[in-house]
Amino acid sequence: MEVRSIVIIGNGISGITAARHIRKRCDDAITVISAESEHFFSRTALMYIYMGQMKYAHIKPYEDRFWEKNRISLRNARVAEVDFEERNLSFSDGSTMEYDVLILATGSSSNRFGWPGQDFKGVQGLYSLQNLESMERDTQGIGRAVIVGGGLIGIEMAEMLATRRIPVTFLVREEGFWNNVLPKEESDMVTRHIRSHHIDLRLSTELKEITADEGGRARAVVTTAGEEIPCQFVGLTAGVHPNIDLVKNTPLETDRGILVDSFLRTNMPDVYALGDCAQHREPQAGRASIEQVWYTGRIMGETVAATVCGEPTAYRPGIWFNSAKFFDMEYQTYGTVPAQPRQGSDSLWWEHPNGKQGLRIVFDSRTKAVLGFNAMGIRLRHTVCDQWIREGAHLDQVIKNLKQADFNPEFTPFAVRY
């Protein structure tokens, strides 16, 4: 077979996993392009650089020589245009490049809802390395920061600033932290935990506008309730959306993201899309059409590599799982755990008297088959939870054998009691 030129735009977890697995499977030429950085780095670890817990070199998952050794060419440049008919890319520096197979893994961009003042200096989201640099620059010696939007990136930003001893006011529109994902008890627990870290958390509070000083630098935010909170830095963390700027107004079909079938194929031949930027035309039952997490990007990367190398493989991600850390509180989830009580399923919630650990088991009301877990401040064993959910293990069995799922360090008493 002739050697194809496989070009991947985006060197995040999705694009890089695709590249690595294509290399394992076939001998084609692989080029990975990114405007953001020379090498792949872990986006999930950006916060730790600001916190001084790691340096940039530490968050690169592979040594620099890995790429040459595996014959993956890297190009640090911005793709300005794609000509899908001619199979040709042009870069912002004017150069061009041809491809046989194109894989789009362009990731996300931070949401900005057209708030008045959102473009002032000292106002930003947190997604890229460049965002991290500006955050470093604009938070030097400031007296207060305000964060707008209570998701995972918002709470990370709050933690980052707190470790620099910068007082933080955290505006969250919902009446409970992340309560569109977390059930009430979990949400309350995190809310308490955030406050115990002395973050000025304001629930049910929305941003109206940001005001600036003469120099065009943020000086205060005004809430919809009319309160003015003086600050010198504003973090906008109200979610992300697929970054599809590059392919808007091209024959490539898009909606909110780049539309793909279950094989991650777009409507153009030999063009694939995956990770944060992809939108599934027919998502698997119970899954969202756009999944913007690390793990799904990785799974899609493995899948697309198989398809591209001649073994068409549908993206069937299996049982959902995810994890996060809210300041010092770890969170893991497996399977389906609805935020609001849902017809047909029930759940058991256990909470430690210390208020810092909790475990929820969701099960089918009729059959008592276990459907999902939420673990707060407790580590559960992925393989065991996955198997229980997959097999529809009976609630009583699961409770009886719960210790099998204990993944906490040795000498940690397994405290969960139902």
Binding site: G52, M54, W294, T303, E410
Partner: protein
């Protein structure tokens, strides 16, 4: 405004901390002043200032520093500070430490014999042994104090992890009891100054017929107790070590008992992130550490053959050989480089590149042990915290992000990788058998969740 506006990570220190820090500074100053003469004249005074007040102040300060902040991984700002990021302060500290070791090992007897600094430790030495201190007593006392003071700090820092608390308690216990008090008492009773927490090949002379300071013959000469000691040394090396390592991995020794590991995990804890994680360092490590083990085995065999043949092969050379070993390996490597370079190379340089016991334990751990670090399915986000804070320079995330167990000869089972992982991915475990430890874990694959690695 509500309490929530009070800053959680206070910039300044409270009164207790300031007083404690002051006490520590006075202790340090007293030590320096004492060394220039006054220590000889007023040993009691300087003992109380330098040996009691100073370390107590240090402990209170360090512990409070962490108790002030919420329990959890508190590694923030580590790389922003000169001392922990190979900055100027680190170099100065490294040079001072190295200088101390050079003076200690190779300083002339004429200096140490009459050193005022040593006199400061007389009250303690008199209490424990009934005789005045010498430089080795001073070293043992300072070392033990460092493990105790910084051990308390480590317990405060890692108080959210029972594994770290229990383990740190264990290394403090063994350092104080087995590596300091018991040998001192034995010496006081004119018994061999025997360290029940060190064995061949880390203390090779315990099983040497002659030559070493603590050689077989020397211990035997001390009568019945000596015989028991030798029996103990033999059993520890050849029976207890393989058995314990089979069940628990090398950590039972390196992270729970050994004083070198003890110092690294207490006094050295702030420097653990400086270890070299590159593949190249791993290569160098394997060559060096196994060479040291081979050299010790060779010397030991040679000495015994020589002894059986009545000294006919080596003659007096055996003495020179063991002296040379002590000079290069024990003093230069484990002391000067191993500890003196903490602020520059990280903590476990000796354990990783030089220690023959670690080599022996590592071979056992790699090929015949139930111990492994398990990876939690697909939860790794490749953040790099585990690798950054592994003092042995193991690239833990390289395994974790592939869903593989970590089975490495060098892993000392300190458990810090599992402690700092923000996603609960790692767990130190003793499995039911040694056979399943390197079997690839199921990793997450696109085609319907878990699939066993080929």
């Amino acid at each position: 405004m509500t309490h929530s506006l009070v800053n959680p990570y206070p910039a300044g220190q409270d009164a207790v901390q300031r007083i404690a820090l002051g006490a520590f500074a006075i202790g340090l100053l007293a030590l320096v002043i004492a060394a220039f003469g006054p220590g000889e004249e007023f040993p009691q005074l300087f003992f109380w200032l330098a040996v009691v007040l100073g370390p107590t102040g240090g402990a209170v300060y360090a512990v409070r520093n962490f108790l002030h902040r919420p329990a959890g991984v508190r590694n923030e700002q580590v790389w922003h500070r000169s001392l922990f990021n190979r900055g100027m302060v680190a170099w100065v500290f490294g040079i001072v430490l190295t200088g101390f070791y050079i003076a200690l090992y190779w300083g002339p007897d004429s200096y140490w014999g009459s050193a005022a600094l040593v006199r400061v430790f007389d009250p303690l030495s008199n209490l424990l042994t009934g005789s005045p201190a010498d430089r080795w007593f001073l070293y043992g006392a300072v070392y033990t104090m460092a493990v105790l003071v910084m051990g308390l700090r480590a317990i405060a820092k890692y108080r959210h992890s029972n594994y770290q608390v229990v383990r740190t308690g264990s290394i403090m216990f063994f350092q104080l009891g087995f590596a300091f008090l018991i040998p001192q008492f034995l010496k006081a009773m004119d018994r061999p100054e025997f360290y029940f927490s060190y064995f061949w090949p880390l203390k090779p002379d315990y099983l040497w017929p002659e030559g070493g300071y603590y050689s077989f013959q020397w211990i035997l000469d001390k009568g019945g107790l000596g015989l028991w000691m030798l029996l103990f040394a033999g059993v520890m090396t050849f029976i207890a070590t393989p058995v314990l390592t089979y069940f628990f991995g090398k950590r039972w020794y390196c992270s729970w008992v050994c004083g070198c590991g003890g110092l690294a995990n207490t006094a050295g804890d702030p420097f653990r992130q400086l270890s070299d994680k590159s593949l190249k360092a791993w290569k160098v490590e394997r060559w060096m550490i196994h060479s040291v083990l081979l050299i010790i085995i060779a010397i030991t065999l040679l000495l015994w053959v020589n002894s059986f043949l009545g000294g006919s092969i080596l003659g007096n050379l055996s003495h020179t050989l063991s002296k040379l070993y002590a000079f290069i390996i024990i003093q230069a490597f484990s002391g000067v480089i191993g500890v003196g370079f903490y602020p520059l190379l990280g903590t476990r340089v000796w354990c990783r590149f030089g220690c023959p016991m670690a080599a022996y334990l590592g071979i056992l751990q790699k090929y015949f042990s139930r111990f492994r670090i398990t990876t939690n399915g697909g939860q790794c986000i490749s953040c790099g915290n585990c690798s950054t804070y592994c003092e042995m320079g193991i690239d833990v995330k390289a395994y974790a992000q592939r869903g593989e167990n970590i089975v490495r000869a060098s892993c000392v089972g300190c458990g810090i990788c599992a402690t700092v992982c923000p996603r609960g991915v790692l767990k130190l475990e003793n499995g039911p058998t040694h056979r399943d430890r390197e079997v690839g874990n199921p990793i997450v694959f696109g085609n319907d969740g878990f699939r066993l690695r080929p």
